[in-house]
Structures are given as C-alpha cells and as structure tokens.
Amino acid sequence: MDDGLQVGTVELGTAGPLALGPGAVVFTADNLAAKVIALAVDAPDRGPAGDGPVDVADLDVRIGALLGCDADDVVIRDLLVQRGSGDVLLSVQRGRGDTGTAVLLRLRRDDASIEEVPLVDVPTASWSLTDAPAIDDERVDARVGLPDEGEEFTYGELTFRLVKEPVRTSTVTDMAYVDGELLVAGLSNEEFASKLRRIAFPFVGAGQDSNLEIFHVSHGKWETAAPIRTFVPYADGASVLAAYTCTPVVHFPMADLGAGSKAVGRTVAELGAVNTPLDMATYRDADGEHLLVANTTHGLLKISCADIDAQTPLTEPREPVGVPREASDLEGIVRLANLDDRHVLVLQRADGHHHLRTVKTESL
C-alpha cells in the first residue's frame, strides 16, 4: 500500500506509547512535540521467529547497559511485538532533563539481544496533535477556503471567525490502529477533557482528524468526562474498551465514535479505589475473546468480552462492581503485548526492576 511515508529522520523528544500499524508501520508519539509519528520498521528476514517464550530478567539493567546508564535512568514507556520477526520493539527514555534521550529498541526474539532501531533515513510521517493547524498545513485552506485566518462559527444570528489556540500540551496516553485509522487517547495539561482522536492513516489533509468527547455515567446518575488512560479495540475493531484515569472501564461501539459527536459509553466495571489502569490487551481462546487489564493495585485482571456485551450499565455503587473478572496472581504488570496466538508478553515490575515475561494465555 502507499502508506504516505517519506524517507527522513525521526525526531523523538520523549519516548511515547507504541502501536502497530499496517504492514511494517509502527506508530509512536512524541509528547513534548505533541505529535504522533509513523515509521516503517523493517522486520529482519532471519527465517521463522520461533515460538519460544521471551523471558528477560532485569530488562531495565540490560537496556541501561547498552545505553551506558544505570537502570534507574531507564524508563520503558511501551512495548509491542513486531509481525513476522516476533521481535519486541521497546520505546525507552534514557536519562532525564536536558540530557534525556528517547530511543526505539529492538529485542530479538531469537537470542534476546537488544539493538537500536535506526531513526535516520527511514520512511516516516508525522501528525501534529495541536488543535490549531500550522501555518503551512494544508488543512487551513481546506477548512476555511479563504485567505483569512481562523474558523467561522455561528452563535445565534451572529457569525464569528476565530483562530482556535492550540492545546498547550496533549500527552498521548495510548494509541491503537484500527482499519485505516489511528485512535489516540490523551491527557491535556490544562483542560480536563476526554478526547479520543481518530486520525486517518496514511496521514492526509482536511477532515481526517476528528476529536470527540467521551462521557461515561457513574451509577446511572452522574455523567462525567475524563481522560482515557488506556484502551483496546476488540471484536475486530467493532468495539472499544477504555479505562479512565478515574478507574471506570467503559465500553463504546466504534460506530458511536463519529466525528464531532458526543459519545456516552457504558460503564462495565470499576477498578476500585487507589488503583490506576496501566495497559490493556485482548486474546482469543476456545471460550471466545478476553481482555486483560494491567493496573497498579490488583493482579492482572481478565474479563470475558461476552460478559462485557451482556453487562448492563452499572447502577449500584457497591462492590463487586460490574462484569465478572478474575485477578491473576501476576502482580506488578505494567505493560502488555500479544506475543502470538497463545502467549502474552508482560512487562513486570518486581524487586525494583522490570522483567519481560511470557505468559501462556491458557494459564490465565
């Protein structure tokens, strides 16, 4: 396909989340520059990737060694498993402050060695997440159609032309690619908005970026918006399950997430007090599709998608709340990725370090 990428240099100011795109495309986000980046990461042809487990103890120590720093100076922001090679791509921040550097690393499936993914002279494209298009952005013409600044809006019988100020910083918390669109959830450093952006990929011009506010209802009584912390599409992209910073887990049919509309999701579970959702993944087995939710307080949570679809909106403010879920004894899971049909890769924090472990889905 023509993915619209052009050979160039990927500038990463900060390490952000990762998402698998079509073909060799990988998405990441630079939260300092408020943009999402697509780049082609070739899968090395080394023959069959094998189906063995990927288990790397003290991954942060090993990454630190390669990057020439202590493990304390390594932040593993996200990971994913590359199609074909089965290699693990890691989004990593090395150091802090003015000397901080973001890198993309490859952990080889065959021998667990770690190497840098080149960011120079690679096919790439980016998309600004600020609300206001840049001066040279073709969307200006397409949207306004006049050599005039700003956008027109009407208020009663009045018409105004205004330039919308850009969001100062929109921190991307999670991303997923579904059927020609990149879904981007973020957290603003100013307004407390619940925005899910749908950005058409390949990145093109006008009208290909919708930004809708998603509400959820607590106990059938309080409607509220909040930033989405992590989300995962399931049912072949027909549904989205999102976990909010304030812990409700909310279901949306993708069809409801139209441009410019307000969507109200169905709260199907709550993760409880003093808990924060961290990452989600899905997998299928003979019993159907399941969701895994990594969170700060409980073990890895497993929820059946069939139970989500059957769950009526939560109305009782009491435990247990929402869909049946099983907490595994896998504690300290901070990131998840699908390794293959039968295994999930987890990044686990234990004993002060981060370890990569392979979990058989049948054991969950």
Binding site: A65, R96, F160, T169, T171, T173, E191
Partner: protein, 339 residues
C-alpha cells in the same frame, strides 16, 4: 600497565585506555549493570585507536555521577566515576497556582511554575499535599506515568485524584474527597526537585490554602460583570468572574470580536489576574462604537473542572448535562460606552 582515564577524541568525550596493546578488546559497562550478574550487553559505542591508546567513544553521552567499568580482554581495568560538574542551585519555584487563599473542596488542578526547565519523573517524590500538622494527605494526587509539563517543561500540572472527587465512583465512596472543608492544607515542593541540569532547587516552596464548599456549577459567562471601555479610547475592557477560573485556560479561551464586521477578532492584549478572578483586554486600536463580543471557548474551566459546557460530574436527575453553547463557544456582548 594498563590505565584508563576520561579523555576526549576529536572533540568527543571518551574513555581512553593506555598500555593495552594494539589488538586488545576494549568494552565498557555501567558498573551497576556489570555487578548485576545478568551478563548484560556492553555500552554501545565505538573503539578507536589513537596512537598507542584505545578510546571508547560512547553512542550515548556518559551520564554524570555514573560509575563505568572498563574491561580489556575480559579483565577489569578500572572503575571510573563520571565527573559531576558542580553547579550552583539557581532554579526556584516562581509560584503555585491558583493564587487564591481558598479553594473549593472539589479542587481538581494545581500548577507549579519553575524559573527554569525541569527534569521529569520527580513529582511523585518531591511534591505533596500536607495538612497543617505536616502530615501528607494520602492518595490525594493522581499518579500518572507521564507528568504533565508544558512545552518548556517549566510548568507542572498536578491533578488531584478525580476518582475521589467524582461522585458515584468507588474511590469517592470509600475514601471520600482528597480535601476536607475547613481543613487547610499546603502544597509542598521540596528543594530536592531537580532542574533539567540535574541540580536541586535553591530551596523548597509551599502555598497554603483554606478549603471551602464544593463548586458544582457550570461556568456561566453571563454571570460575569463587565466594566466597558469608552468608545474611541484604548481603555481596558475589564471582566470580573463570578469565581476564580483556571488561569492557564482563561489566557487562551477568551477573545474579543467585533460583531458588526462579521465577527473578526479585535487585536489586543489580554491579561488574566494571578488569582484567576478577572481578565482585562486592551485593544491595539481604539474601540469603535459598534457592538463587541467576548467570545469564550467552552472548554474554559473553574478550579473544580466545571466548564462552560458542562459541570465536572453532572447529576442526570437535574436536567440536561450540557450547556447552551453553540459552535463550541459562548458569547457575551457589550457596547463601548459613549464618550
């Protein structure tokens, strides 16, 4: 005898090894990694022969304060600490917003402004809310992986845990609000917060707040009081809000437009009061006589996260959730006073 030292090679920092011999194999590790017993890979970089010396030029710059182990032909040669340049602490906290004496119990957001760029990953250790007895208010703040900095990394946005503020959620029902009406608290930034050079602050900072009742009303621009300027003058338009608003959002959510000319923006300079209680706008050219409008982006929020469009958590029994705004904006009309 083989010796290792810090050096430079063609302007690049390196670790120089003297006396190792031409065919020797040089590798460098952070000493902590080598001591971990996990057989980690060596640090990325290139080994360059410089006369009789071997130089390790790292792919990533050496980190100050880190101990590096130099290994030649699998034998440890030296452990060297990367020098930490002494730096005088010059960075300080410029302010903690909102600059008010009292906040609502359902306060959502604070800002800490620093005088210089800061290092990330510090806030959970060096910023906290404490009561008047000095006890930390537990679980008061939202923990996020990615701290919310502005583009310069000088202003940190701190959110109180929304799960404890939103009615109907488990965290709210079990733990209650992070704040308590009548119980003052302080936001404390300790001096160990590192700036972008890795240097601590000149000193810590704190701000004390009284806690008042909840604020659960939509931000209503029609409730603001205006002091209109005189037509033909360049007097300031003054707007006093009915409650303190989010200072950062006021700065980018208010615009003045002239209704008669098709709603074009009036060029001028807006200024928000430090306490978020008022805003003034001075035009670059004198005011005309025609009808003007303050155009308010509906994302504008107060201290509790209520916006022009919606309250923070809307009680569905109390009517429709969203405000009557159109096109994403609310409009307050005014006519400059006759001279």
């Amino acid at each position: 005898m083989t010796e290792a030292s810090w050096s430079t090679l063609e302007g690049r920092h390196c670790l120089r090894v003297h006396g190792a011999g031409g065919g020797a194999h040089l590798a460098v590790w952070p000493a902590s990694a080598l001591a971990s017993g996990t057989a980690p890979p060596p640090a990325a970089g290139e080994v360059v022969a410089d006369g009789a010396d071997l130089c390790f030029v790292p792919r990533f710059e050496f980190v100050e304060g880190t101990v590096y182990a130099v290994v030649v032909d699998d034998a440890p040669v030296a452990e060297l600490v990367r020098h930490r340049a002494p730096r005088r602490a010059t960075t300080e906290v410029l302010g903690i917003d909102p600059a008010v004496d009292q906040v609502p119990r359902n306060l959502l957001r604070l800002y800490v402004r620093f005088s210089a760029r800061m290092s990330e990953g510090q806030s959970s250790s060096h910023l906290r809310l404490v009561d008047d007895a000095g006890q930390t208010l537990p679980y008061a703040l939202l923990v996020v992986d990615d701290e919310l900095w502005d583009g310069d990394r000088r202003r940190l946005t701190v959110l109180l845990d929304p799960a404890r503020i939103k009615r109907g959620l488990v965290a709210h029902d079990t733990l209650g609000y992070p704040l308590e009406v009548g119980a003052a608290f302080r936001v404390v930034v300790d001096g160990a917060f590192l700036d972008a050079t890795g240097t601590p602050l000149r000193g810590g900072a704190s701000r004390r707040f009284e806690v008042g009742p909840d604020e659960r009303r939509r931000v209503d621009p029609l409730a603001w009081s205006l002091t209109v300027p005189v037509a033909g003058s360049d007097q300031a338009l003054r707007v006093v809000f009915d409650r303190p608003l989010d200072v950062a959002l006021v700065a980018r959510c208010l615009t003045v437009a002239t209704v008669a000319t098709g709603g074009h923006r009036v060029e001028g300079t807006g200024a928000v009061a430090p306490d978020g209680g008022s805003w003034s706008f001075v035009p670059h050219r004198p005011w005309g006589h025609e009808v003007q409008a303050i155009v308010v982006d509906e994302i504008l929020e107060d201290l509790a996260g209520n916006s022009v469009r919606r309250v923070f958590d809307h009680d569905l029994d109390a009517g429709p959730p969203s405000g009557p705004s159109q096109g994403g904006h609310a409009v307050v009309r005014f006519v400059p006073a006759p001279p």
